[in-house]
Amino acid sequence: MEFYKSTEAAIISLCFLFLVFLPMEKVFPAKLKQKIIRPSWLLDLCYFFGQYLLWGTLVLWAMNYFRFWLDDIIPTTFRTRVSNQPWWLQAIEVVLLSDFLIYWGHRLQHKVDFLWRFHKVHHSAEHLDWLAAHREHPLDTIYTVGLINLPAFLLGFPLETIAGLIAFRGIWAIYIHSNVRLPIGKLRILIGAPELHHWHHDLERDRGNYANISPIMDVLFGTYVCPDHEPEQFGIKEAFPKHYVGQMLHPMLPKVISNKLYRRKMKKSDE
């Protein structure tokens, strides 16, 4: 029954996202030649359904565990002080701290090889659109979601009070992956834009634009890049499996084994 409900929800979500982003990608395409049914769309569809039907529970469990573990170790006096502040101040603190943490956490994902092993699954997408936004290793998701939520967990801030903002940023995070180029002027600094995130997905691993949604942290820490054209190519330079199971397993295997397996697979396909 649960599986049926999850499947239904996933299909409804897929249809809604299709409806929201497809017209934009058609009318304001960033890459003119990119088609809707582009290479690896089926792989990204697997990621989409994988996240809705399989990995959601895992992430959920991890977050729940993390949250209640933090509840036990955070002194109540600290939370008392925080909650004595006005609501709006707490909201700003949580959003800014969250953006700060995810910015540095994301930079680390690109810097530290161990984290990059998982994060490069997301960057392996060579064609960006709203569907490609869902390409993510579940352990990478746990890391990201954990960091983003850490300030709220620490401060005991009721996130439901900023549900609108969170919902907007959530769907906007999918939008910034879409194949859209629509300049929104200075609003870009506040809410981010696809043209910025596209550069983050450039072939160069350390290209920049690590901020979550708003590029303020990138501006502050000097990693903001925004050329007036699209990157020539998205993806990663490293050899990487092209199928779902391979991409799921690759980061978890020791480097020697995963490279060996991958080479053998490549050799077979060449033959």
Binding site: V20, T57, S98, N149, E160, G170, A173
Partner: protein, 132 residues
């Protein structure tokens, strides 16, 4: 050769996009839901004040959620949203008894990884937690 869409098409597309985003956000904050207050309230111990106060979180149940128990259409780059969101759900009332060990209802969560997370109370499966 690809045709460039006319200004009218562009304006319509952006308008529809904006409208759908607004609809989505409104939906997520419960604007389209017929909320009803559950008779069971979640009792948590308030850490806000030192004068023996207790926070009562009254759950709101979204009836017609297209989300169907999952918070969808979001991203892992977004924070978690508890399902029962409403600004006034946490009310501070004077506590009658803060010495006894009342159970803190622990919410269960369901979600998809990319799409964020929801907290949903499950009274039967709650784990007791002691107030600090």
């Amino acid at each position: 050769m690809s045709k460039t869409p006319s200004t009218t098409i562009k304006v319509i597309t952006v308008s529809v996009f904006t409208l759908l985003i607004i609809c989505f956000v409104s939906y997520r904050v419960g604007a389209f839901d017929n909320f009803s207050f559950s008779s069971k309230s979640i009792t948590t111990y308030n850490s806000n004040t030192s004068d023996n106060q207790m926070a009562v979180d009254t759950p709101i149940v979204a009836k017609d959620s297209i989300i169907i128990d999952q918070e969808m259409m979001s991203s892992s780059k977004s924070m978690m949203i508890p399902k029962n969101f409403k600004r006034d759900t946490i009310k501070t009332i004077p506590a009658k008894d803060t010495t006894s060990k009342k159970p803190l209802k622990k919410s269960s969560t369901m979600s998809s990884s990319k799409s964020g997370i929801i907290f949903e109370p499950q009274p039967d499966k709650d784990t007791a937690k002691k107030p600090k």
